[in-house]
């Protein structure tokens, strides 16, 4: 089976660990070989959280610089910071709703202009899919379902060997019942947003 390498970056608390778990469970259901590596020691203290997921016939659990097939970023600045993981063919999906780090909020360093981030990303990778995941999540009923929106966007690119149905099943099993409806709606909203962009 083809090897596909996915990097997910987010800011602690954005729910990316749940997103990667859902994706892993979905792959498991389909008997797709999958391995994941995460550094989450500082996840709850506002630091950057990075997950690497390798699908297919490889045994490594991490991804070297320049070797990601897809970068899924929960935050635009973090997409730019993670750009070294990409090459000229990488597909980058990024949320464009900014979460300025505290350092920038208090005037120590400047948060780059979102358009500049988008332009820079675009010039360096194969394809850029920007979307406002926060707005889409809000419209789906819960601002905190940014992770499900981005998961939907990721699946719609059809690069990974997992199906939308398997991901939906994994969402049903893995996420809290109370949020299930909005999670599925958010997932669908993410897929829709990418369908529009690709069409």
């Amino acid at each position: 089976m083809d090897i596909k390498r996915l990097i997910i970056v987010a800011v602690g608390g954005q729910g990316n660990l749940l997103a990667s778990k859902v994706l892993g469970e979905a792959a498991c259901r389909l008997d797709v070989p999958v391995r994941m590596s995460e550094i989450h020691g500082m996840a709850q203290r506002g630091g950057v959280v990075e997950s690497a997921m390798v699908f297919g016939d490889a045994v490594s659990t991490i991804i070297s610089d320049g070797e990601a097939d897809i970068l899924l970023s929960f935050e635009p600045l973090e997409a730019l910071r993670a750009i070294k993981k990409c090459n000229s063919r990488t597909v980058v999906i990024t949320n464009i709703s900014a979460l300025p780090p505290f350092t920038a909020s208090i005037g120590k360093g400047k948060y780059p202009d979102i358009d500049t981030i988008v332009q820079q990303l675009k010039s360096k990778v194969g394809q850029l899919i920007p979307l406002d995941a926060k707005a889409l999540a809000k419209a789906a009923g819960n601002e905190l379902s940014v992770n499900m929106v981005l998961l939907g966007a990721l699946i719609e690119t059809d690069i990974l060997p997992v199906t939308p149905v398997s991901v939906e099943d994994a969402i049903r099993e893995t996420t809290k019942k109370a949020f299930l409806d909005t999670n599925l709606k958010a997932f669908e909203a993410g897929r829709g947003a990418v369908r529009e962009q690709i069409a």
Partner: protein
């Protein structure tokens, strides 16, 4: 039922490496486990803590790794399969017990799990625990994947019982925190009632006894080497002449690299999973079939030294390389591309590396360093100390925990740190050596771990220092584990007795002890001023529950605050506290009300009293 207790052999679950290890222990019939929490090992014990509530497993969070190992050593010598879990630097704390436990040995299997942290994602050093195998004589096992780790735990118990020695189970961050589908095996019911058979001439390590025990240990090492040569965990793949010897996660990178480089038929890979003692005969026979050999191991040249020595013994003159300016470094962690590149370079295989995106034109991006949480009481305590000691020249040793982050501006509290508990001992030394006022910081869990002997030392020698004990009623940094100072009844865990930090400190004989509520800024500053003007040892206990832990119980402090138009932009809130709930919008300070916990500290320091609570949440 806990997901790791399910007895359904063949079931496949997507599990974290640490969960797989815990499951492996359950399948092996572990009866007894002890630990002191430490990332990247913490999730193993977290699962045991939960499992112990619904099974016969005995589990405890011990006060430190040495105690944890002693507790488990006694259980194992009472015949119970036991496991002791710690991070790599924890082994240093446990080392005194470890070295002589190797002489005494065990009856029931004892697996000592260590989690090394190459690249230091969450540690103060990246020491290579494999040398503890050499130092103590104990066998070391090293898995390469989460599934193998689960299976290897069972083997570790069997090996331990066969040799009558504890077995060191060495993992690294990338295994502990990797996740993969894990196939369950059957669960073995543990033997939970232990029995100790007295035998002082084998158990009481006076010199005359130890002289015999050392002889026994050497015999065990010899037997272990034979077992290592025959172990299925030291295996060879490939029949080529290019030898590669590797271990742990490096084996994964090697496996992928030989495939990517299309040299599977040219290569011969020896994966070492049983790495102490090194399997001498196996390695000699492997080398004899190679024209050159590359050693791929993160950390120190542990295998490389052994392999080169074995080659010399066998009169083999082939080239053997590993740590080398042109190949592998002793620093940090490896990755697939690096291993691919070094294999290609050493064996002369053409290889074009993937070009990472050019970052030369990307401007400096604002950093996102981890920060004390919004509403964290440590921030308030550091602020109070800064105000109380304003204008004084002080040295401020710190310790290991969330509060270490207080060394960053604007709080800038933290001048020196080497290990758990070092704040107290180094405070003693700095005070004596420099004559300056010393203010040390230590967390509650760290105080119980290894702060107490230092404080006794300070009292006995009448050192002039103030120790601030940051008591947030939990071991926060590693994921909110309990410690002896925690009110367990209050957390709905019956059967514990709380130890009062204040009583301990007074019992030691500290003359000046004060307890502050850090959210009360004025009173805290006054109390700290008094403490630091005391000549001798003074202790401040800053007590406030961890706000992150409280959040998980939906126990919140109060209503969030906002910045009213009374604000005149002095910005003391940002420049002296730096709570992450603040942000600047159109040159005005604002408060993110979802992050704000309502601690009210900023409201107390605002000169215009411009920060006010919302009327309704």
């Amino acid at each position: 039922m806990h997901k790791l207790l399910v007895d359904q052999p063949g079931e496949k679950k997507f599990l974290l490496g640490n969960e797989a290890i815990a499951r492996g222990a359950i399948e092996a019939g572990v009866a007894f486990a002890s630990t002191y929490p430490g990332t990247p090992s913490s999730e193993i014990s977290l699962n045991f803590f939960q499992i112990a509530r619904e099974s016969d497993l005995y589990f405890e969070y011990s006060t430190n790794e040495k105690v944890a190992l002693e507790v488990s050593a006694a259980a194992a010598n009472s015949g119970l399969r036991s496991m002791c879990i710690m991070k790599h630097v924890g082994v240093n704390v446990a080392a005194d017990a470890l070295m002589t436990l190797a002489y005494v040995g065990i009856r029931g299997g004892l697996v000592i799990l260590t989690a090394d942290d190459p690249y230091m994602f969450s540690s103060q050093n990246e020491q290579d625990t494999r040398y503890y195998g050499k130092l103590s004589g104990l066998p070391i096992l090293e898995p390469s994947s989460a599934q193998e780790a689960k299976d290897m735990v069972g083997y570790a118990f069997e090996l331990s019982e066969a040799l009558q020695e504890p077995v060191i189970f060495r993992t690294t961050t990338r295994l502990n925190h990797s996740t993969a589908p894990i196939i369950f095996g059957p669960v073995k019911l543990p033997e939970t009632s232990g029995n100790f058979f007295k035998d002082p001439f084998n158990y009481v390590t006076v010199p005359a006894v130890s002289r015999n025990l050392h002889v026994k240990l050497l015999k065990h090492i010899e037997e272990a080497e034979q077992m290592a040569c025959e172990s299925a965990y030291n295996f060879i793949t490939g029949e080529g002449r290019w030898g590669i010897i590797c271990n742990g996660v490096s084996y994964n990178y090697v496996t992928d690299a030989v495939k990517d480089l299309n040299i599977i038929d040219k290569s011969r890979i020896l994966r070492i999973g049983f790495s102490h003692p090194m399997p001498g005969q196996l390695i000699k026979s492997f080398l004899s079939k190679c024209e050159k050999a590359l050693i791929v191991e993160e950390g120190e040249p542990y295998m490389e030294e052994a392999v080169k020595a074995l080659a010399q013994e066998a009169n083999l003159t082939l080239s053997i390389r590993g740590k080398d300016p042109a190949l592998f470094s002793r620093l940090f962690e490896f990755d697939p591309a690096m291993v691919r590149k070094c294999i290609a370079a050493y064996f002369g295989v053409p290889y074009e590396a993937e070009m990472p995106a050019d970052v030369s034109d990307i401007p400096d991006l604002p950093q996102r360093p981890p920060n004390l949480c919004a509403g964290c009481s440590h921030r308030a305590t550091f602020y109070a100390v800064n105000k109380a000691a304003e204008g004084m020249e002080t040295i401020r040793p710190t310790d290991i925990g969330c509060y270490t982050l207080g060394f960053l501006p604007p709080l800038s509290n933290g001048d020196f740190l080497i290990c758990m508990g070092s704040s107290v001992g180094t405070s003693c030394g700095f005070s004596k050596a420099t004559g300056k006022k010393v203010i040390g910081f230590i967390g509650d869990s760290t105080f119980f771990h290894s702060g107490i002997p230092g404080l006794i030392n300070a009292v006995f020698h009448r050192h002039d220092l103030t120790l601030v004990i940051l008591d947030n009623q939990t071991t926060a940094m590693t994921g909110h584990q309990p410690h002896p100072g925690v009110d367990m009844e209050g957390l709905n865990y019956p059967g514990y007795q709380q130890v009062s930090i204040e009583s301990v400190v007074r019992g030691i004989g500290v003359e000046h002890v004060s307890v502050i509520k850090p959210y009360n800024v004025k009173k805290s500053i006054v109390a700290v001023k008094e403490a630091i003007s005391h000549d001798g040892v003074s202790v401040i206990i800053a007590r406030q529950n961890c706000t992150l832990f409280d959040k998980s119980f939906k126990r919140s402090v109060g209503r969030p605050f906002y910045v009213s138009d009374r604000c005149k932009n002095h910005r003391l809130c940002i420049n002296e506290l730096g709570c992450p709930a603040f942000y600047v919008e159109n040159d005005r300070v604002r408060i993110n009300s979802t992050l704000c916990t309502g601690c009210g500290v900023c409201a107390q320091i605002c000169p215009e009293h411009a920060i006010l609570p919302f009327k309704q949440k």
